[in-house]
C-alpha cells in the first residue's frame, strides 16, 4: 500500500465500522426471541439510598431467582423526572419496557405515551391475579376502559409524632390527635415547650398534590369532580387549605419546604409531621437514637371522616414487542403478587395492597406484630380516596401550577387563600381546556 492510498483505506475502514454499527443498532432484538428475554425497568426507587433502594434490589433479586429466563435491566431515574425521562426516551425511540410511575403523572402518561393495557396483556390470568388487590387502587390505573397500571409502591399520608416531645409538652403520647382541632391544640403545647409544632407536607418533593387532595377531600371538597371539572376553588376546598395556612400564620407550623421539615423532624426539632408513609424508614433511621417515633391516623376535619388520598406509584408497561410484553407481565405479576407485596412492605415500608396479607401468618402477620408504626395508616386504608388527576395531556403541568402557584404561597407566605385558589383554578381550567 503506497502512502497516497493509506488515507483512502483508513476512511473506507472507518465508514465500514460506522455502517456495521448502524446495522447492529437497527438489527432486530434477538433477546426477545430466544430462550431469554431482556426487559428494561425504569424506577425511581432503584439505586436510591435507604430502604426504598435496598428493598427494590431485594425485589429484583427475588424476581431474577424466580425467573431465570427473564433478565431485567433496571434504570434509575429521579422521582421528579420520571415522566420527563420517559417522554424523552419515547421521543428517542427507546422507552423502558416497564416503568414505576407516580400517580400524579399517570393521567398525562396515559394521554401522551404508548402505555399498554396490562389487562389485555394478562389475558386469562387477569381476574385471578387482581382478586384481593384493593379495588380502588386497581381502578385508579384505568384509562380508555382498561387497566393500564397496577398499584406497586403505594402509601398514604399519616401523622408521625415525636413521643418524647409530646411528654415534654405535657401531652399523652398514647392519645395522638385525631382531628385538625386536636392537632392545633397539640401543636400549641409543643410550641410552648420550645419546639416546632406541626408540619403538613403538602409541598411534596415530586410536586404531587396527593396531600393537598387529602386535606381538601377531608374538608369536604375536591380538586376535580366526578365529571372532571376543576373545583379546587369551592368554599370547602378553600376552607381546608385555609386551616393549614392558619397553622403557619399562628406560628404552629414552620413556613419551610418539606426537605427542611424532614431534617427538622429527624433531628427532634419538630413535634408532628403529616407526610406519606413512604418516609417511614427514613424517619425511623433519623429517630433511631434520638427520640421515640410513633404514628397516628391522618386527622379528620370538622367532624367529617378523614379521607386520605394515596400517593406512590403503579407499574405501567410500554413494551411494544409481544415477547417483551409477556416478560413484562411476568415481572408485573411477580411484583404485585402476595410475595411481591409482602417484600415491598417488609423491605421498603410501603402499605400491603392485598387485604389478607396483614393478618396472614404466611405473609405479614408476624411483621405487623413487631412493626406497629404502619398499623394506623393500615387501619385507614379502607377510607382511602382514589387519587384524582386533572384531565388530559397537561395534567402534570396543572398539578405543578396548583402546588407552586397556589399551595406554596398560601401555606408558606400567607397569600389570600380564596383569591389565590380562585385565580389558579381559572388558569388550570384554561390550561386543561386549551387542548
Amino acid at each position: 500500500m503506497n502512502r497516497s492510498t493509506r488515507p483512502l483505506v483508513a476512511t473506507a475502514a472507518a465508514v465500514s465500522i460506522l455502517a456495521l454499527s448502524a446495522c447492529a443498532a437497527s438489527a432486530p432484538d434477538t433477546s426477545a426471541t430466544g430462550a431469554s428475554t431482556t426487559i428494561t425497568f425504569s424506577s425511581y426507587s432503584y439505586g436510591t439510598q435507604g430502604a426504598a433502594g435496598d428493598g427494590m434490589q431485594v425485589l429484583l433479586d427475588a424476581f431474577a431467582e424466580a425467573h431465570p429466563d427473564i433478565t431485567v435491566v433496571p434504570e434509575a431515574v429521579p422521582v421528579a423526572d420520571a415522566l420527563t425521562k420517559t417522554k424523552a426516551a419515547v421521543a428517542a425511540g427507546s422507552p423502558p419496557d416497564v416503568q414505576q410511575l407516580g400517580y400524579s403523572k399517570m393521567a398525562e402518561a396515559f394521554a401522551t405515551l404508548p402505555v399498554q393495557s396490562i389487562e389485555e396483556i394478562a389475558g386469562d390470568e387477569w381476574d385471578a391475579h387482581v382478586d384481593g388487590i384493593a379495588p380502588g387502587l386497581v381502578s385508579t390505573g384505568e384509562a380508555d376502559g382498561t387497566v393500564k397500571a397496577l398499584p406497586f409502591t403505594v402509601s398514604i399520608p399519616t401523622l408521625f409524632y415525636n413521643a418524647d416531645i409530646f411528654r415534654e409538652a405535657g401531652l399523652d403520647p398514647e392519645e395522638p390527635p385525631a382531628t385538625i382541632d386536636e392537632v392545633e391544640d397539640a401543636a400549641d403545647a409543643i410550641v410552648a415547650a420550645g419546639h416546632n409544632g406541626v408540619y403538613f407536607g403538602l409541598l411534596d418533593q415530586g410536586k404531587s398534590d396527593y396531600l393537598t387532595q387529602s386535606v381538601i377531600d377531608s374538608a369536604g371538597g375536591m380538586t376535580v369532580d366526578d365529571d372532571g371539572e376543576v373545583v379546587l376553588d369551592s368554599a370547602k376546598a378553600v376552607a381546608g387549605i385555609q386551616r393549614i395556612q392558619d397553622l403557619t400564620t399562628g406560628g404552629l407550623q414552620p413556613a419551610v419546604g418539606i426537605d427542611d421539615a424532614v431534617a427538622a423532624f429527624s433531628t427532634g426539632d419538630l413535634g408532628m409531621f403529616v407526610a406519606t408513609t413512604a418516609l417511614m424508614s427514613n424517619l425511623q433511621t433519623g429517630a433511631a437514637d434520638t427520640f421515640e417515633l410513633r404514628t397516628g391516623g391522618f386527622p379528620s376535619f370538622d367532624a367529617k371522616p378523614a379521607r386520605p388520598t394515596h400517593s406512590g406509584a403503579g407499574l405501567v408497561v410500554l413494551a411494544a414487542d409481544e415477547a417483551k410484553q409477556d416478560a413484562a407481565w411476568e415481572f408485573v405479576k411477580f411484583m404485585t403478587s402476595e410475595q411481591g407485596y409482602t417484600m415491598i412492605t417488609e423491605e421498603m415500608g410501603y402499605l400491603p395492597l392485598r387485604a389478607n396479607l396483614a393478618t396472614d401468618d404466611e405473609f405479614l402477620a408476624g411483621y405487623f406484630a413487631e412493626n406497629t408504626l404502619l398499623l394506623p395508616p393500615l387501619g385507614q386504608l379502607g377510607d382511602v380516596t382514589p387519587y384524582r388527576s386533572f384531565a388530559g395531556a397537561k395534567s402534570n403541568q396543572a398539578t405543578v401550577m396548583l402546588q407552586d402557584d397556589a399551595i406554596s404561597p398560601i401555606i408558606l407566605r400567607g397569600a389570600d387563600a380564596r383569591q389565590t385558589m380562585s385565580e389558579v383554578a381559572d388558569r388550570i381550567r384554561e390550561l386543561v381546556g386549551s387542548e
Partner: protein, 307 residues
C-alpha cells in the same frame, strides 16, 4: 509603454493551481465548519422551525401554528418575569465577574509567596467541585430550622432566616452562591493576565516615585482592560446560565418565581411540560434579544470611534 502578455497555455496551467490554492484553506477549515454547522447552526435553525409548530416531543407535530407560540409566550406574566430576572442576575453578577476578582488578583499578585498561593488555592477550590454537590451542601447549610447558616447568624442575635423560602432573600442567596464560584474562576483568569504585564513600565513608575495605588490605577488596570471587558461581556451573556444549577437544586425558580430566569423557564417549558413549541419560541426571543443588543453595542462603539 510595454505590454506583457501571458501565453494562453500558461493561463490554462495556472488555473487548477489557483483553484487548488483557494480550496485548500476551506478544506483545512471544513472539520470545524461542519462541526459548527451540525452542532450550532442546525439546532438553531431547528429551534426556529419548532417555534412555529405545536409539538409535545412524543407525538408527531400537530402542525404549523404561526406566531401562536410567541403570542402565548408574550401573554404569560411568567415569561416577562423570567426575562427581567435574567437581566437582574446579569447585573448582580457583573461586579463578581469583574471588579472583585480583579481586586483579589491584584492583591495576590502584589504579595507573591506561599500564603498567597494557599489563599488562591482555597478560593479556587469551589470551582473544582461538582456543581450539584456544592448546591446540595448549600441546601443543608441554609436549612431554616437546623442549618448552619442560621446557627451562625444566631450568634449575633439575628432571628432564623428562611434563606431559600423567603422571596426577599432567595435571589440574594442564589447570586451569592453562584458568585463564590464565578469570582474564584475569574480571579484565576485575571492572575493569568497579570503574569503577562510589562513589568518594565511598573519598575519605571516605581523609580519615578509612583505609589502602589497609582501604579495599580494608571498602569496595571488599563493593561487589564481587555480581559475585564471580555469577562464582563461573558458575565452579561452567561449569568443566567451560571445560576441554572443552583436554581434547579435550591429553589426550582421559587419562591413566587423570584429566582426564575429565562433559561430555567425554557427548560421547564420544554422538558417538564413538553411545550416544545413555546420553549423554542422563548429560545428564539433570547437569541433575538442578544442579537439586537450586539448590533446596538457595535453601533454605539462605531459612533464613538474618531473618524
Amino acid at each position: 509603454m510595454t505590454l506583457t502578455t501571458v501565453p494562453p497555455r500558461a493561463v490554462r496551467e495556472d488555473a487548477p493551481r489557483r483553484v487548488r490554492a483557494s480550496v485548500r484553506p476551506w478544506l483545512y477549515l471544513s472539520p470545524v465548519l461542519v462541526a459548527i454547522g451540525v452542532w450550532i447552526y442546525a439546532p438553531a435553525l431547528f429551534t426556529v422551525a419548532l417555534s412555529v409548530l405545536d409539538w409535545n416531543l412524543t407525538t408527531p407535530p400537530t402542525g404549523f401554528v404561526g406566531a401562536d407560540n410567541f403570542a402565548r409566550l408574550f401573554r404569560s406574566a411568567d415569561f416577562w418575569q423570567a426575562l427581567a430576572q435574567t437581566a437582574l442576575y446579569a447585573l448582580a453578577l457583573l461586579p463578581f465577574s469583574t471588579v472583585i476578582p480583579l481586586g483579589l488578583a491584584i492583591m495576590l499578585w502584589q504579595r507573591p509567596g506561599r500564603a498567597s498561593t494557599v489563599y488562591r488555592s482555597l478560593l479556587f477550590l469551589p470551582v473544582m467541585m461538582a456543581p450539584v454537590a456544592v448546591a446540595v451542601s448549600w441546601k443543608f447549610m441554609l436549612n431554616p430550622l437546623v442549618g448552619l447558616a442560621n446557627e451562625v447568624v444566631g450568634w449575633f442575635g439575628v432571628p432564623p432566616v428562611n434563606w431559600l423560602g423567603d422571596p426577599s432573600t432567595a435571589l440574594v442567596v442564589i447570586v451569592a452562591v453562584t458568585a463564590a464560584k464565578v469570582t474564584a474562576f475569574n480571579m484565576l483568569l485575571f492572575s493569568a493576565a497579570l503574569s503577562g504585564l510589562d513589568r518594565r513600565t511598573i519598575e519605571a513608575a516605581r523609580l519615578e516615585g509612583a505609589t502602589s495605588w497609582e501604579i495599580t490605577r494608571f498602569i496595571v488596570a488599563p493593561q487589564l482592560a481587555g480581559t475585564t471587558a471580555l469577562l464582563g461581556t461573558l458575565s452579561l451573556v452567561l449569568a443566567g446560565q451560571w445560576v441554572f444549577t443552583n436554581v434547579t437544586v435550591l429553589t426550582q425558580g421559587g419562591p413566587d418565581g423570584v429566582t426564575d430566569n429565562i433559561y430555567y423557564r425554557i427548560y421547564t417549558l420544554g422538558f417538564e411540560f413538553f411545550e416544545t413549541g413555546t420553549a423554542s419560541a422563548a429560545a428564539v426571543v433570547v437569541l433575538l434579544v442578544f442579537a439586537v443588543a450586539g448590533i446596538a453595542w457595535r453601533l454605539v462603539r462605531r459612533s464613538h470611534v474618531p473618524r
